[in-house]
């Protein structure tokens, strides 16, 4: 923990105690605090396009009274008097406004007094050294990418004294290298900084780029046997996670996986999916401080085993909560491995398409769980187990009941851990652990 982070830690603790003292006996409050000290550097043509240092500290308060709920939040100035006064201003206005409203479906009783602390520190060179080093490594190729680093803190506390503290110093370098219009994409992130491993990652990307210099293959629309690398699998899983595993979405008639949940359709028995917070890249507590200590099976052998169920949803529908976040998204996706060794992928693919990434996936038919999206980055045509050359980008449109169902051949034994690289508003915490996937008859339409 650096000095600045230690000063903030003490400040946040003192501030949240003060906030809690303001809550009356017939009121409840839970606080979520996110603090970040970010370095963002974006690159184009292996040089620096923009650099930004950012300090931000966001407090959110879920305030409840007579089952009315109002949530409010603001950026902290890091001055006890100023921040407390602003909090009291929001609190008093909330008391007035909520008295004119009805009881909320988002009400959840607050009774936890648990405490926990998780701090992950990564020893690595300072950003000032790393950025020029990156420019130097890519001086002979056309690299475009994004360096993101700095400590991220997440705290959940409540007026009763619950206090969970999570701090992670995670970093990532998300980049692509180009040869003309064709590119290879990669990600370097690790809990142990290793210049050797970083260089290996770069060298592997450069080797892959050489394959893209072969003649371009333009394929007709139709069905093809395909191998999807873990990054492509993550794109599909992330789309399914967009409401697909949410109990509330299902109960409200909005779930794209309704037919799977109702057992009208099935996935392959090879598919098992878990919310696995033991990966350690996201806090094991949610925004109201509920703690998930064990992995939660979502799909087991092709069948829905659990849906992500927040306590608010559980109360509304009279079912059991599994302490999902209110959005009911899976934070750490863990897709079970199969029996295919990565070294055998090309041989088993035989003739078909090798897909390293997919792009911009969306539902084309929600009720039948049909997805559409594009191939992107290094995607190759393979004949008799040999890469022939890159393919022209193609659009797929296929049901999840085909891709992860009847047409699924196998998943790889080896899996890849991909940290979340999202940076909208705040840095996304979490990861996907996924194997590659071999599938028959993937449908391409354009």
């Amino acid at each position: 923990m650096n000095l600045q982070t230690a000063i903030y830690k003490k400040y946040f603790s003192d501030l949240l105690s003060k906030f809690s003292e303001s809550i009356d006996a017939n009121e409840e409050a839970v606080f979520t605090l996110r603090s970040e000290q970010n370095t963002f550097v974006r690159f184009n043509h292996s040089k620096v396009r923009q650099n930004t240092s950012l300090d931000q500290h966001i407090i959110m308060c879920k305030f409840q009274k007579n089952k009315r709920v109002v949530e409010f939040g603001f950026q902290l100035v890091i001055d006890l008097t100023t921040d407390l006064n602003k909090f009291l201003c929001f609190l008093n206005d909330s008391r007035i406004q909520m008295s004119k409203m009805d009881a909320s479906s988002d009400y959840t009783p607050i009774n936890s007094v648990l405490k926990s602390e998780s701090i992950k520190k990564i020893n690595r060179p300072p950003d000032e050294q790393i950025i020029p080093w990156i420019c130097d490594q890519f001086k002979n190729v056309d690299m475009v990418g994004f360096w993101c680093s700095g400590p991220v803190v997440e705290i959940s506390a409540n007026h009763l004294g619950q206090y969970h503290y999570f701090e992670s110093d995670f970093f990532f370098f998300d980049y692509s290298i180009y040869s003309g219009p064709r590119a290879v994409k990669s990600l370097y992130s690790s809990e142990l900084w290793s210049e050797v491993n970083f260089k290996n990652n770069i060298n592997q990307s450069i080797q892959k780029l050489a394959l893209l210099k072969k003649d371009l293959k333009t394929l007709n629309k139709g069905s093809y046997r395909c191998y999807l690398e873990p990054a492509a699998v993550d794109e599909i899983l992330s789309t399914l996670n967009w409401g697909g595993f949410s109990q509330a979405q299902y109960k409200q008639g909005l779930s794209p996986l309704k037919k799977l949940i109702d057992k009208d359709c099935a996935l392959s028995g090879k598919i098992s999916l878990t919310e696995n917070l033991t990966l350690g890249l996201a806090p094991n507590f949610n925004s109201i401080g509920e703690v998930v200590s064990e992995p939660l099976s979502i799909i087991k052998n092709g069948q829905i085993n659990n849906l992500m169920t927040s306590t608010a949803t559980a109360l509304e529908y009279g079912i059991e909560s599994n302490y999902a976040e209110s959005s009911e998204f899976i934070k750490s996706l863990d897709l079970a491995p199969g029996t295919l060794s990565i070294k055998d992928v090309l041989e088993q693919l035989d003739t078909g398409i090798y897909l390293s990434n997919l792009h911009y996936i969306n539902w084309s038919d929600r009720s039948n769980a049909r997805l559409t999206g594009m191939t992107r980055f290094a995607c190759y045509w393979v004949e008799n187990g040999e890469i022939q050359g890159p393919i022209q980008d193609m659009r797929f449109d296929d049901s999840i009941y085909n891709l992860l169902g009847k047409n699924l051949i196998d998943l790889t034994i080896e899996r890849e851990l991909m940290v979340k690289t999202g940076t909208y508003f705040t840095r996304t915490l979490g990861a996907t652990l996924a194997p590659g996937l071999l599938v028959d008859d993937m449908n391409f339409t354009l």
Binding site: N51, S53, V70, F72, D106, Y360, W363, S364, T423
Partner: protein, 477 residues
């Protein structure tokens, strides 16, 4: 605590080529009501300062929400240190021409400010509309929501820029999901949060929406019994609330100069448009006129200056189908030598500005909607976006809509559900065969256009008439 950034700027020992401070204060109230029960009632205040410095021609940034003099001075030092250090690795060496010394102000057009609308009043408004949506037992889920934003940007620079822009922005969304034993269909008020405008409290007048509630729910139920959209090639009319997506994805994004320059290749993507295409590429048929227009009353992304002080002006991006200018800020114009617009924009104080869309509009034609329909022997008219996907070069797209009507021999026929269409950008816009007149133009937009590393959302506006396209691939579920 109020911070005088002009005063803070004066305090620094400036040895940079350029320094600017931008302070943003934004209040957002986000409410949703499901089946007349409050689901989310949230208020959030975003407040911070972004400092930009130019060192050796390289522009870098540092930002903080710690709004006190000491932190602001420290943040300035951070910006200087990092930017000086990295300037030897910079993509471009800019000069002061990319930061004009603009002065002035802007205020959103409104009758009564949104600060006069209380949280409880907004809740009552949504609850009433939600009740109206639940007019039939087949409506299983009715959701109404609104986002109410008041924001103020103040930018001052060492070169003398000093401008203040004050926005009132609002979205209203209505959604009805009808469910029977076989199907579930959702109909919304112009697609998710498509109905978004710069407006005041007057926008929250129930009489503007009550009739629409009845229509939406009736159409959601109608879709349960409707036939699927067929798979075929035919004429397609798009309503303005689908044109918003079509413009956004297949004109707006590919014309962003920072994409064309390659900045977004690792995330949002590149562009099929090359620098040589400006002045040469017949992007669409001769009917197609597309403008960057920051001065449309109440449109979601109207303003007087972009966020680096470039005065905004209306400009034709495409005229009579010919590509004329890109969506590029002064920085992108400097790098590419191409014509651009005032569109350097950021999500808030905590993100560096990049090339963004603002109001990108299709100009009207001359026909009435009835005349347009009468010209279609075999076709479909589609309404309200519900699905979108396009490749990273913005060529091959596939979009889905909520609701469609068949057109046979110039007459509207049966209702169709799950309508989708796909195409390739330039041939698609060249198949444009008709546009309705100015009186049919509708204004929509999105609060959520995503782009950039670090990622940021931005508010965009798109207005359009109805548009007829010939020989398009359509398909159903």
């Amino acid at each position: 605590m109020q911070i005088d950034i002009q005063n803070e700027l004066k305090k620094i020992k400036n040895d940079s080529d350029h320094v600017a401070f931008k302070i943003v204060k934004e209040s957002t109230r986000d409410l949703s009501v499901r089946n007349e029960i409050p689901q989310k009632i949230q208020t959030y205040e975003d407040y911070g300062v972004m400092i930009e410095v130019m060192r050796n021609g390289h522009i870098g940034y540092a930002a903080t929400c710690e709004l006190n003099s000491e932190s602001i001075q420290n943040t300035y030092k951070k910006a200087v240190e990092m930017t000086s250090h990295l300037s030897q690795h910079a993509v471009t060496e800019f000069n002061s021409s990319v930061r004009p010394p603009s002065k002035g102000h802007y205020i959103s057009k409104r009758t009564v400010g949104l600060d006069q609308l209380s949280l409880a009043e907004a809740y009552d408004f949504l609850k009433t509309l939600c009740k109206e949506l639940r007019c039939n037992s087949l409506i299983k889920t009715a959701i109404t929501d609104t986002m109410i934003v008041e924001t103020e940007h103040h930018y001052v620079s060492s070169s003398g820029a000093d401008f203040l822009q004050n926005f009132n922005l609002a979205t209203v969304s209505l959604s009805s999901t009808a469910v029977d034993s076989r199907d579930s269909q959702t109909r919304t008020f112009h697609g998710g949060r498509g109905l978004c405008l710069q407006a005041g409290k007057e926008y929250f007048d129930l009489s503007r929406y009550l009739n629409d509630c009845q229509t939406i729910s009736k159409e959601a139920i109608e879709l349960l019994k409707a036939d699927n959209c067929p798979d075929k090639t035919c004429d397609l009319i798009l309503s303005p609330d689908q044109m918003l997506l079509q413009i956004h994805e297949s004109i707006g994004h590919p014309l962003e100069l920072d994409r064309i320059l390659g900045d977004e290749r690792n995330f949002a993507g590149w562009s099929f448009v090359s620098p040589d295409d400006f002045g040469q590429l017949q992007y669409g048929s001769s009917l197609l006129d597309v403008t960057f227009d920051p001065f449309v009353d109440n449109q979601f992304a109207s303003y007087n200056f972009d966020e680096i002080g470039n005065p905004a002006e209306k400009k034709f991006l495409i005229e009579k189908g010919l590509l004329k200018a890109g969506l590029g800020s002064l920085e992108s114009q400097f790098r590419s030598g191409l014509p651009g617009v005032a569109n350097s924009r950021s999500m808030s104080w905590n993100r560096a500005p990049i090339d963004r869309m603002a109001n990108i509009n299709v100009e009207p034609g001359t026909e009435s909607l009835e005349e347009l329909i009468s010209r279609v022997d075999d076709g479909i008219i589609m309404f309200s976006n519900r699905s979108w996907s396009i490749d990273d070069y913005r060529r091959k797209f596939q979009f889905g809509c909520e609701y469609a009507k068949e057109i046979k021999n110039g007459q509207i026929g049966r209702t169709l559900k799950n309508p989708n269409y796909r195409g390739i950008t330039v041939p698609f816009w060249n198949s444009l065969a008709g546009l309705t007149h100015a009186g049919t133009i509708e204004k929509y937009g999105s609060p959520y256009c995503g782009k950039g590393e670090p990622s940021q959302i931005i508010r965009v506006g798109h207005s359009s008439p109805y548009a007829l396209f010939k020989n398009i691939d359509i398909f159903g579920a």
